[in-house]
């Protein structure tokens, strides 16, 4: 049964993706139904596997010789990650697509392909299989702009997204290969354990590679600009492909490698500062965005920064809990934020506003828990202050955004599916918020992860009241915001600022220009010149040699020698031929010469 469910989990979305790509490219309505059914069935398969957690599936694939069998594991942590991600796919499709509003079928196909690959990535216990699955997810995400956007934009989006995501994979591959070299296996758990045997330099490369991989996949600032390409795409592509699947895969990778991220106090401090700083910059940027979609990208980046902060603090369980908890929160932010009723005073409008505020504050609450745990773990206060200020800014953003009517471009038509999805996710979030303590403990117990002390609400409130960074930032920003509103002078948070285009710098063209400059210098200017000079030297040298050696030198010498010999011969001929008197004279002269030579030699 376990194997069958696993096969269904992987193959259903894959087959649906192939079917849509080959047969339903011109039938968006049918493609939408197929995508909904396939993603729903996949989510059910993942959920059905939960009771089987801990079983040992026999599904094993042999691929590259020498890399060992690729097995799949049913660890509870990976199953929960797969469950929330697959349900997010279904709900994103349900809540953002409709028969009236067509989503490009190829975009749906990319989503389903990414869904299949993501399930493989979550459940495999083999580094190579995980890497391959991540590459497929990266390609699916990168292809989305290509199939949705017209003109040159699609190509630029594909190029940038794919190159940046591959940068993360380069980091991951570096770490995998070093761990493979040390352990001789690509099974994730023993390979990670072998990190303890690595030298300082090799461990440094592993940490660098993993941090790079996680940074890119989570969309952390400043490597978030691949996720910005989700903004002009269809809602399901943005909500799930760009905001959920890759960040979740990054978060799960972070969870697995958390013990390696602090090989020394200095590295730990560096990562803590980088994570907290990146999260803070991201949330400040989110505050300055007018477009909700744009702001959500930066909020997701802030969430990623806080998760890395948790990992660097050694809070492995917090990373996993963060993944499971923030996935529905981000989806709810997207669904409620784009609900056209949000700007109205109707019941639905207030409900959408409330759900948005709930999700935003709950997201800040997760951040608050992370900083509380980090404080309990004795992390350095300087980096912690930055993280706490980030959480405070997240609160400000959530409150401000919940009260703001949506921009016109975001107001898409009302969908029944959206309210069904929002209702399901909203109910789950509400239950989670009200019972966060028992739920956290239950999840930790079910997953068999190291339990974390969950503070009571009063403890948390006391923490908020006495944490200077939290309090100060919240008060300062709220006061500034209110003053700004009353004075109608846009100082710190311009509410009506125009959005910049998605891409401000053409990295592709910049790289090409740099390469062309290098070519001009090296190929044409340097190597080509060396070659031309060498040829010139050889050819000119040959000409000079020819002139001096062949024509005037050697040839001239030979000519002169020949002339001399001929002249001498001529003279001699003249002397001993012709007149008899001269001939007779030649004989005694020759005899005398011979005698002289003989006497000299003797």
């Amino acid at each position: 049964m376990t194997n069958e469910l696993l096969i269904a989990l992987f193959s259903l979305p894959f087959l649906a993706s192939v079917g849509i790509s080959l047969l339903l490219r011109r039938s968006p309505r049918t493609a939408r139904v197929v995508a909904l059914v396939a993603s729903g069935a996949t989510a059910l398969c993942a959920t059905a596997l939960l009771p089987l957690a801990g079983d040992d599936p026999t599904l094993v694939i042999e691929w590259l010789p020498g890399t060992g069998p690729m097995a799949f594991g049913l660890a509870t942590t990976s199953l929960y990650a797969a469950v929330v991600t697959t349900w997010a796919a279904f709900l994103a499709l349900l809540g953002t697509t409709s028969a009236e509003r067509e989503t490009p079928p190829l975009a749906l196909a990319m989503m389903l392909l990414a869904l299949a690959a993501a399930s493989v990535a979550f459940l495999t216990e083999h580094f190579l299989a995980r890497y391959v699955a991540l590459e497929v997810v990266a390609l699916s995400i990168a292809l989305a702009p290509l199939v949705e956007l017209k003109g040159d934009e699609g190509g630029r989006g594909f190029w940038l997204v794919y190159v940046i995501l591959r940068l993360g994979d380069v980091g991951l591959l570096t770490a995998i290969l070093i761990l493979f070299d040390a352990s001789g296996t690509l099974e994730i758990t023993p390979a990670l354990e072998a990190a303890g045997t690595l030298s300082g330099a090799r461990l440094g490369w592993v940490v660098f590679g993993l941090v790079l991989a996680v940074w890119v996949k989570l969309g952390n600032y400043p490597l978030h600009f691949w996720s910005r390409w989700g903004r002009p795409l269809s809602p399901p592509a943005h909500a799930w492909l760009f905001m959920t699947v890759m960040p979740n895969l990054g978060a799960y990778l972070l969870y697995r490698v958390t013990p390696l991220l602090a090989p020394s106090a200095a590295v730990r401090t560096l990562i803590l500062w980088l994570a907290a700083g990146a999260a803070m910059v991201a949330v400040i940027t989110a505050l300055t965005r007018r477009s909700l979609r744009s702001a959500l990208i930066y909020v997701a980046a802030a969430r990623g920064g806080l998760l890395v902060f948790a990992a660097a603090s050694g809070l492995k369980t917090a990373v996993w809990l963060g993944l499971v908890a923030t996935t529905p929160l981000q989806l709810l932010l997207f669904l409620a934020g784009e609900a056209p009723e949000r700007g109205t005073s109707s019941v639905l409008g207030r409900a959408a506003q409330g759900l948005f505020g709930l999700a935003g504050l709950a997201l800040a609450g997760v951040g608050l828990l992370i900083t509380w745990w980090a404080r309990q773990a004795g992390m350095p206060l300087d980096a912690l202050f930055v993280a706490e200020a980030t959480v405070a800014l997240l609160v400000v953003w959530a409150v401000r955004e919940a009260m703001r009517p949506p921009a016109e471009e975001e107001a898409v038509g009302s969908l029944a599916g959206r309210w069904v999805a929002m209702g399901m996710v909203g109910a789950a979030v509400l239950i989670g918020v009200l019972g966060y303590g028992p739920l956290t403990r239950r999840l930790a117990d079910a997953a068999g992860v190291e339990g974390l002390h969950v503070p009571a609400l009063t403890t948390l409130l006391r923490y908020v009241a006495f944490a200077p960074a939290l309090l100060l930032t919240t008060v300062l920003v709220l006061v500034t915001w209110q003053m700004q509103r009353r004075s109608r002078v846009e100082v710190h948070i311009p509410a009506g600022a125009q959005e910049e285009p998605v891409e401000t710098y053409d990295l592709q063209e910049g790289l090409a220009q740099a390469a062309r400059a290098l070519r001009a210098v090296v190929e044409v200017g340097f190597l080509e010149q060396i070659l031309a000079l060498s040829v010139r030297v050889v050819v000119d040298g040959a000409r000079v040699t020819y002139r001096f050696v062949e024509q005037e030198g050697l040839e001239g010498l030979i000519r002169r020698v020949v002339q001399a010999v001929v002249g001498l011969s001529e003279a001699m001929r003249r002397q001993h031929t012709g007149l008899l008197r001269r001939n007779l004279l030649w004989i005694p002269l020759s005899l005398i010469l011979a005698l002289v030579v003989a006497v000299t030699c003797w």
Binding site: W63, L64, P65, G66, L146, G155, L167, L173, L177, R519
Partner: protein
């Protein structure tokens, strides 16, 4: 013990294409209509004969043919197939066949068509013979045949006014490499008194200084053939000017001869201890070539030159793999030769498809062809993703082995740079596809429909790039068998 069947097979690999070439030369203008078929059938027979050697190798036999050639100086016509020969031999024969079939659709027929196909076959024979030769003199004769045939093809059928200059440049550069190899061979012959590789593999004792000189000569000489930076300058021009079938053979098969030379001579003849001083320079040279070739591909706007520079980059991977002197690195380098042949032929065929259909070759003059040429887009897209190392396409498998070999050495920083350099491959490969097939369609760009001889082999190679990537076990097995022949089996 070689059997008669094996002897016939060995003779067939070389003799059938030679006989076909002779027939085509003799018939000249009269063979225009069936020259392609004669060449295709003979190339197919040659490939079949090469594949027929596989069972014998699995039985542990070494098919050999020895015929006295110049008895006065002890030179023999020695051909043999071992595990080191096999991957290269099959690649060359297969590429020759594919190039001939592609020519059916690409080559414009005229009274010289017979000669064109004859020279293509001789080019192929030059490569097969070089790989099969078990005698230094024979090796060099075939090596030069390869050069002469390809030079004439570029000179006579090259595109553009500069074909004479390019053919000369190609000849001078690669001949310079050949001369270095020749000096190395003469020194070896002088020192050992034997000219067979089998005997040389038993062990060569030279003065330490002389050993380094000989290894250096071989490495530089073969690197010229591989077109590794900075001795690559012949390649972009030759690949650009040569007619597309010749370009396919140059890029997909002839570059591999440099790798074969390095494996057959320095790495097979000398011990690991003697080769160790050259490991780091080879790895550094490989990284330079990988990064530099990719940067140049990024700078180029001519589709053929982009793919040509990509070869410089890919040869860098191979040199890096060989330089690791590990089992993974060397196996990966050999696999990369085969997979690079598949993918590079695919890319050039895709490019040829576009060039022939549109009459344009500058990427700035192309674009938006995805709707007009969807099949060409899929095939070329597969080639681009494969060259970018995207799993499960075949080149990922060999790159994995090469990188893995790099991390087995002490030079971990170099291995990381190699990995980071692979990102540049992604950059130019994606740029190539986007530039040709996406964006807006330039004004006046029309697409001509092409015949099946161009389409079919391109689709076949695209499928092969995927199939080989998913089912790599057979080729891995071939390559693993070759490892005991390298560095005395002490990998």
């Amino acid at each position: 013990m070689p059997t008669d069947t094996q002897t016939i097979g060995l003779v067939t690999i070389v003799a059938v294409p030679v006989a076909a070439a002779v027939v085509l030369f003799l018939l000249r203008g009269r063979s225009v209509r069936f020259a392609g078929w004669i060449a295709g059938v003979s190339a197919a027979i040659s490939l079949g004969a090469a594949l027929a050697m596989v069972p014998a190798l699995y039985r542990g036999e070494v098919p050999t043919l020895t015929v006295p050639w110049i008895p006065a100086v002890g030179i023999e016509f020695d051909l043999h197939v071992d595990w080191l020969t096999l991957p290269f031999l099959v690649t060359e024969a297969a590429v020759t066949l594919v190039a001939v079939i592609y020519s059916w659709g690409y080559h414009e027929h005229d009274e010289r068509t017979g000669t064109f196909y004859a020279l293509l076959l001789l080019f192929g024979v030059g490569m097969s013979g070089t790989t099969l030769a078990d005698d230094m003199v024979l090796f060099y004769v075939f090596w030069e045949l390869m050069l002469v045939a390809s030079s004439i093809l570029i000179l006579a059928w090259g595109e553009g006014e500069r074909r004479g200059a390019v053919a000369l440049k190609y000849f001078i550069f690669t001949h310079f490499g050949s001369l270095l190899v020749l000096v190395g061979l003469i020194v070896l012959y002088d020192a050992t008194g034997t000219d067979t590789f089998t005997a040389l593999r038993a062990g060569v004792t030279l003065a330490p200084g002389l050993t380094n000189v000989v290894i250096g000569l071989f490495l530089v000489g073969f690197c010229v053939k591989m077109a590794v930076f900075p001795v690559h300058l012949w390649l972009p021009d030759a690949h650009t000017v040569a007619p597309m079938p010749v370009t396919i053979m140059l890029a997909a098969a002839m570059l591999s001869m440099g790798t074969y030379g390095i494996l057959r001579f320095p790495l097979s003849i000398f011990s690991r201890l003697e080769m160790t001083p050259f490991a780091l320079p080879m790895m550094i040279g490989g990284v330079f070539s990988e990064v530099y070739g990719a940067l140049m591909a990024l700078a180029e706007r001519d589709v053929k030159r982009i793919i040509a520079y990509s070869s410089v980059s890919q040869m860098g991977y191979i040199l890096f793999g060989l330089g690791t002197m590990t089992a993974d690195g060397i196996a990966g380098a050999t696999l990369h030769v085969i997979y690079h042949a598949i993918v590079k032929a695919l890319l050039f065929m895709g490019a040829g498809w576009v060039l022939k259909s549109t009459g344009r070759r500058l990427i700035t003059e192309l674009g938006g062809l995805s709707k007009k040429m969807p099949l060409a887009m899929v095939c070329t897209g597969v080639g681009a993703l494969a060259i970018a190392g995207m799993p499960p396409f075949c080149i990922f498998d060999s790159e994995w082995m090469i990188f893995s070999g790099g991390f087995h050495t002490a030079h971990i920083g170099l291995s990381v740079v190699t990995l980071l350099g692979s990102l540049l491959t992604v950059v130019y490969a994606v740029q190539l596809i986007i530039g040709i097939f996406f964006g807006s369609l330039p004004e006046g760009l029309t697409v001509k429909k092409l015949n099946w001889a161009i389409v079919a082999p391109t689709v076949l190679l695209a499928a092969l790039a995927l199939i080989e990537g998913i089912f790599p076990a057979m080729l891995f097995d071939w390559v693993v068998h070759e490892l005991p022949l390298i560095l005395g089996g002490r990998l």
